[in-house]
């Protein structure tokens, strides 16, 4: 089946079987390997991307469902050579260790700040509760998102 999607602002069309998972489409068909696979029961969240700005688990969607939609992956955070404030914040606050959950965490953080520009710690922890991390104990991820909220959008390092 033909699928046309816009990913990080660029249009792509490809012919895929209906059963191709969206995460696989991104990683294999489009070569965007920043979105990861961590489980097989949609319970870990490392595959999270933004679908028209809303966080979704790309392992629990088929590529064909995304036809005509607009996706943002971690590769799309940097704009015009400038890092997103979330990317800067994660580095500043040591919000990552192995990096495997990081793309998802940054996208969820970004989507959160768009809805709620100044969340408190509890609100952040609640919003992140669909995304697992094994390395950081979440402390610095929360710190990074709080820090990002204090930075102007479109800031860079």
């Amino acid at each position: 089946m033909e699928v046309s999607v816009t990913v990080n602002g660029a249009d792509h069309t490809a012919d895929v079987e209906p059963r191709v998972l969206l995460v696989d489409f991104l990683r294999t068909t489009l070569g965007l390997t920043g979105t990861h696979i961590g489980c097989d029961t949609s319970g870990c969240g490392v595959c999270t991307i933004l679908l028209d700005g809303t966080p979704v688990k790309s392992c629990a969607m088929f590529a064909v469902q995304a036809d005509g939609r607009s996706l943002t992956t971690v590769e799309g955070l940097k704009q015009n050579g400038q890092l997103d404030r979330m990317q800067v914040a994660f580095k500043e606050m040591h919000g990552l260790q192995c990096g495997f959950c990081t793309p998802a965490m940054m996208l969820v953080g970004k989507a959160l700040l768009e809805r709620n520009p100044a969340p408190d710690e509890e609100e952040i922890r609640w919003e992140l509760s669909g995304n697992l991390c094994r390395c950081t104990g979440y402390m610095n991820i929360v710190k990074a998102i709080r820090y990002a909220a204090t930075q102007p959008e479109g800031a860079s390092a």
Partner: protein, 289 residues
């Protein structure tokens, strides 16, 4: 991890969707949020021949109050309920339950209707619907019918929907100023199925006695259970701690939990007792407030 092959159609209208469902019969499955179905397909516990994706069908995302009930369209996402002022004002049981569903990301795509139609015996929404005496609106190529929630779930993952029929809407009675409702869930972590969940609905009459009561239980029986005896014990009575304790005891007796990794049956039954009591007390405060 990788599902078996299937065909896929994405109809642009309800009529087209129903025609497709009629065409594919038992081989066709509705795809709404997919947050339950797709994981099952990946583990190859489900292998539909054709997926009928209804996400492009307009008019299925209604949240509105009409004629004393809330209309919840088939494509209303769990987070739509979380964020809805309409629901917050119209049915507190639903508003209380929504944040407990799965996790925040799944809630962006998963649908209330899909969850009810999926009929997972450990699912939360069915208890809410049972407690509130909701109705399911089902459509097929041949017409529409309304199925009371009490008759809707017939077994694990099995509903009264016939081949070619699709849930298009839930109708949930509204709770007025004299009513309240809660959903309490004991889960070991966000995203876990309930160890025990209790939905309540409580309405007070003009004289302060209980005019209607709903209690339904999650994960403590082979499927969601409406604790009818507990409900009956409340109706017509003056609310009190002792009354609620009695209802809680009856609710516990209505449960039939399994001992498993989440805990022994005795434990789950005790949590039914505790949550029913707490839930009713909270609902009373709302109804009186």
């Amino acid at each position: 991890m990788y599902p078996a092959a299937f065909d896929y159609v994405a109809p642009a209208s309800a009529d087209e969707a129903l025609a497709k469902l009629a065409e594919f019969g038992d081989d066709g499955r509705v795809l709404a949020g997919g947050q339950s179905l797709i994981p099952m397909m990946k583990l190859r516990f489900a292998f539909p021949g054709t997926l009928v994706d209804i996400n492009r069908v307009p008019g299925l995302d209604t949240i509105a109050v009409e004629n004393g009930h809330l209309r919840i369209g088939a494509l209303v996402r769990h987070n739509d309920i979380v964020n809805s002022d309409v629901v917050a004002g119209a049915n507190k049981t639903m508003a209380a339950a929504a944040p407990w569903i799965a996790d925040p990301i799944v809630r962006n795509l998963g649908t209330v209707g899909g969850s009810v139609a999926h009929a997972d015996p450990l699912g939360d929404w069915a208890s809410v619907m049972l407690a509130c005496n909701a109705e399911v609106v089902a459509r097929s190529a041949n017409g529409e019918r309304v199925i009371p929630m009490t008759g809707f779930i017939t077994g694990p993952f099995t509903t009264a929907l016939e081949t070619g029929e699709m849930l298009t809407e839930l109708r949930v009675p509204t709770q007025g100023a004299n009513a309240g409702g809660t959903y309490l869930k004991l889960e070991r972590k966000v995203g876990d199925y309930a160890t025990c969940g209790v939905a309540t609905h409580l309405e007070l009459g003009g004289d302060g006695t209980i005019s209607a009561a709903g209690i339904a239980l999650t994960s403590v029986a082979p499927q969601n259970v409406k604790a009818v005896e507990a409900e009956a014990a409340l109706v017509g009575q003056t609310p009190s701690e002792a009354l609620f304790a009695e209802a809680a005891e009856l609710a516990a007796q209505a449960s039939d939990p399994r001992s498993d990794v989440r805990g022994p049956a005795d434990y789950k039954r005790d949590v039914v007792r505790v949550f029913t009591r707490r839930g009713l007390a909270q609902a009373l405060e709302q109804a009186q407030g």
